[in-house]
Amino acid sequence: MSDLATAIVFWPAVGLMLAAAVFVFITSSMARAGLLLLASLAIEGLVFLALGSRFLGFLQLLMMSGEMVIMVFFMVMFMPDPGGLMGMDMTHDKRRSATVAVAVTAALGLVAVLTDWPARVVGRGAPDVRAIGFEVMGRSMISFLFAGMTILLAMVGGVLLAKHGGRFGLPAAGDEQSGEHSPPEERS
C-alpha cells in the first residue's frame, strides 16, 4: 500500500483501537468488556495489515476471536453480576494503577521514539509468510521446538487447573467415589 493509504488507515484504526480499549473499563458488563477487548485487539490486527504485515494481521484477527470469546465465558462464569445490572465499576485501586499506567506508557513511548528503527519499508506483496516460515524452520528452529514444549506445558497446566484432582478426583465431601473422606452423617 502507498504511504498515504497506510496513513489514512493507520491513524483512525489506532484511534478506534484505543477508544475500544477505554470502553472496556467504562462498561460494567462482563460480556461487553470482553467483546470490546476483542474489538480493540481485532482493530489492532487491522493496524498490522495497514502496516503491510499481513500474516501477523490475519493471525491476530484469527486468534483473538477465539480467545477473547473464551475469556468472555470465563468472566461470565467467575464474576458476580456478569450482565452489569448493578453498575459495577471495572476500575480498582485507581491511584496506583494510574501511576503504573502512566509510567508504562512513558517507558514504551520513550522506547518507540529512541529506537533506531530500520528504514526498510515492507512493501506490497512482501513474502512475509515465506520469510517467517524460513526463519522459524531454519535459523530459529530451536525456539520453534521450545515453543512446542511450552505449549505442552501450557496444556498440562491447563488440564491440571481444570481437573484439579486429575482422573482420581478430589477427596472432597460430596464426592461419591471418595466416601471414606466424607463425614459419617453424609454417608447414610
Binding site: 462464569m77 467467575f78 484439579h164 472432597a172 460430596g174 464426592d175
Partner: protein, 491 residues
C-alpha cells in the same frame, strides 16, 4: 441470587394455532406485528381465539383458558380475520423447517386488533356444544400435580446462578396440558417440575358427533368410546374391526409421537419417513370409517363396501413397507447418538414407581393388557419388550409396536372379512384397553365414559427425575421420550 423467571415472552395476547399432533401457541406481539411461539404461558396477557372456535381446539384450550381466566382476557375474533395468520403459521409448522429465519418471522398485517380488548370477557370460552367437557376441569388451583426433583449441586465448587425456563402447556414436544418448569445450572438441568393442568376428562358419548375428546387429535378417545360400546352384543365382524381400528390408532399415535421427536431432533429425514408411514394408516382408517362418519368406527352393524375393504388392505400393506424402512432408519447409529444411554429408567425403578405401558416395557417390566385378550391370542400376539430403559429403548419399542400393530391390523382385517367369529367381552363393568401410553380402563356412567389410566402419575415423576443432570437438548429428548400427555397423566 436466582434470576427467577427472568425473561418472559411478551406474547400478548396469544393466538391458538393447532399443530398436527400437539398445539403450538403462537403469541401475537403488537410491537413486532408478528407471531412467535409462546414459551411461557404465565406471561400471556390475553388470548385471541377464533370465533367460532374450531372443534379441534376443544378441551385443552378450554382448560387453559379457565386456568387463565382471572388474568387474561379472551378476545374472540371472526375466523375470516384470523385465517391469514393461522394459515401462514400452519404452513411454517408444516414445513418442519425450524431454521431461525423461517421460524421467528411470522408476520401478518392484522395489527389492528392487537391492543383492543373489546370482547375481553374471560367467561364465555370453550362453549361449543360439541366439546362441552371444558367445564369439567380447571376449576381452581387444587388439581395441580406438582413434583419437584432437586438435582445434585455442580461438582466443582463454583457458585452458580440458575436459569429458570418454563415450557408448555401447549407446546411441542410437551403434549397439551403439561407445564415443565426447568431450572438450569449452566446448560444442565438441575431441577425439573412437571405439572399437569388438565383434569382427567369424562368423555361424552354422542352418536353422530365429532370425536368426543379433542385433546387427542388422533381420536384415541373414539376408540375408547367404541371399546365402551363393547358391552353391547358382540358382532362377528365388529369385534375384529374394532381391533383393526385400535391397532391403527396405536400405530398412528406412536408415529405422531415419533414425528414430534424427529422435529425436536431437527432430523428432516425422520420427519419425512414418519409422514410417509402415517399417510397410508390415515387412508386405511378413512376407508374403514367411511360408513360411520368422519372419525369414528361404528361397532355393531358395519356395512363396508368391497372397495373400501380392498383399499384398507392395500393401504395397510403400504404402511407395513414404510414402517419397515422407518424401523431400519431408527435402528442405525444416528438415532442412538442422541438417545442411547440417556434418561435410563432401570427395571427396578420402573417397577417401584409403578410405570405402565410402553415406558415400562422399554425397561423390561410390565405387561400388556392385550396378552390377556383371547382375540389377540388367536392372532398370535406377543407383547413387544425392550431392554435398557433409555430413550433409545423407548423409541425403538414404540417403532416395533407400530410394526406389530400394523401386522395385527392386517390379521384382524383378514379375519373380519373371512367371517371368522370373534367374541366380545360381554357386559364387563370395566373395559380394559392397552392404549398407546399404557392401559386404559373405561366405564360407562350414564352417557359419559369415565376413563382411568393406571400409572399415569408415575410417568410424570419418573420423567422429571430422568431429565435432571442432562444437558438441555438431551433433557428435552428424554422428556419427549416418555410421550407425556396431559390427557393421560392428568390428575
Amino acid at each position: 441470587m436466582v434470576l427467577a423467571s427472568a425473561a418472559r415472552s411478551t406474547a400478548s395476547p396469544a393466538l391458538i394455532v393447532p399443530d398436527e399432533q400437539s398445539w403450538l401457541v403462537w403469541g401475537f406481539d403488537p410491537a413486532s406485528d408478528g407471531l412467535e411461539p409462546v414459551l411461557d404461558w404465565g406471561a400471556v396477557r390475553g388470548v385471541l381465539v377464533p370465533d367460532p372456535m374450531p372443534a379441534v381446539l376443544g378441551a385443552p384450550l378450554a382448560a387453559c383458558l379457565s386456568e387463565l381466566a382471572p388474568t387474561a382476557p379472551v378476545m374472540h375474533r371472526p375466523v375470516s380475520e384470523l385465517a391469514r395468520s393461522v394459515a401462514a403459521a400452519e404452513e411454517d409448522v408444516g414445513h418442519g423447517n425450524d431454521r431461525a429465519h423461517d421460524h421467528a418471522n411470522h408476520r401478518h398485517g392484522h395489527g389492528d386488533h392487537g391492543g383492543g380488548g373489546d370482547h375481553g370477557d374471560g367467561g364465555d370460552h370453550g362453549d361449543g356444544g360439541d366439546h362441552g367437557d371444558g367445564g369439567d376441569h380447571g376449576d381452581g388451583g387444587d388439581h395441580e400435580d406438582m413434583m419437584a426433583i432437586t438435582g445434585e449441586p455442580s461438582g466443582d465448587g463454583l457458585v452458580m446462578e440458575s436459569i429458570d425456563v418454563s415450557l408448555g402447556p401447549l407446546m411441542s414436544p410437551m403434549v397439551a396440558g403439561l407445564v415443565a418448569e426447568v431450572t438450569l445450572d449452566g446448560d444442565v438441568v438441575a431441577q425439573c417440575t412437571l405439572r399437569a393442568l388438565l383434569r382427567q376428562p369424562a368423555v361424552r358419548l354422542k352418536p353422530g358427533g365429532p370425536p368426543p375428546d379433542p385433546l387427542e387429535p388422533r381420536a384415541w378417545a373414539a376408540v375408547l368410546a367404541s371399546a365402551a360400546a363393547a358391552g353391547e352384543p358382540p358382532d362377528t365382524a365388529g369385534v375384529w374391526l374394532r381391533m383393526v381400528r385400535v391397532e391403527i390408532e396405536r400405530a398412528t399415535s406412536h408415529l405422531a409421537w415419533l414425528r414430534s421427536l424427529a422435529r425436536l431432533l431437527g432430523w428432516g429425514e425422520l420427519v419425512k419417513a414418519t409422514r410417509v408411514a402415517v399417510a397410508p394408516l390415515l387412508a386405511a382408517q378413512a376407508s374403514l370409517a367411511r360408513q360411520g362418519g368422519a372419525d369414528r368406527v361404528s361397532v355393531g352393524a358395519v356395512a363396508i363396501e368391497p372397495g373400501d375393504e380392498l383399499a384398507a388392505v392395500r393401504e395397510l400393506e403400504l404402511a407395513s413397507e414404510a414402517l419397515a424402512r422407518l424401523q431400519r432408519l431408527c435402528a442405525g447409529r444416528r438415532l442412538a447418538s442422541r438417545t442411547a444411554g440417556r434418561g435410563v429408567v432401570g427395571a427396578a425403578e420402573a417397577r417401584a414407581a409403578g410405570l405402565t405401558g410402553p415406558v415400562a416395557r422399554a425397561s423390561g417390566v410390565g405387561g400388556d393388557a392385550r396378552s390377556e385378550d383371547p382375540l389377540y391370542r388367536e392372532l398370535g400376539f406377543e407383547p413387544v419388550s425392550g431392554q435398557g430403559g433409555d430413550a433409545l429403548a423407548r423409541t425403538l419399542l414404540r417403532v416395533a409396536e407400530s410394526v406389530a400393530a400394523v401386522e395385527l391390523a392386517r390379521g384382524s382385517l383378514a379375519h373380519a372379512y373371512s367371517g371368522r367369529p370373534g367374541r366380545g367381552d360381554a357386559q364387563a363393568e370395566w373395559v380394559t384397553l392397552e392404549g398407546p401410553r399404557g392401559p386404559l380402563r373405561a366405564r360407562r356412567v350414564g352417557d359419559c365414559l369415565r376413563v382411568d389410566a393406571p400409572g399415569r402419575e408415575a410417568v410424570l415423576r419418573v420423567a422429571s427425575r430422568a431429565a435432571v443432570g442432562l444437558e438441555w437438548g438431551s433433557a428435552l429428548v428424554v422428556l419427549a421420550s416418555f410421550d407425556l400427555s396431559g390427557w393421560q397423566v392428568g390428575p
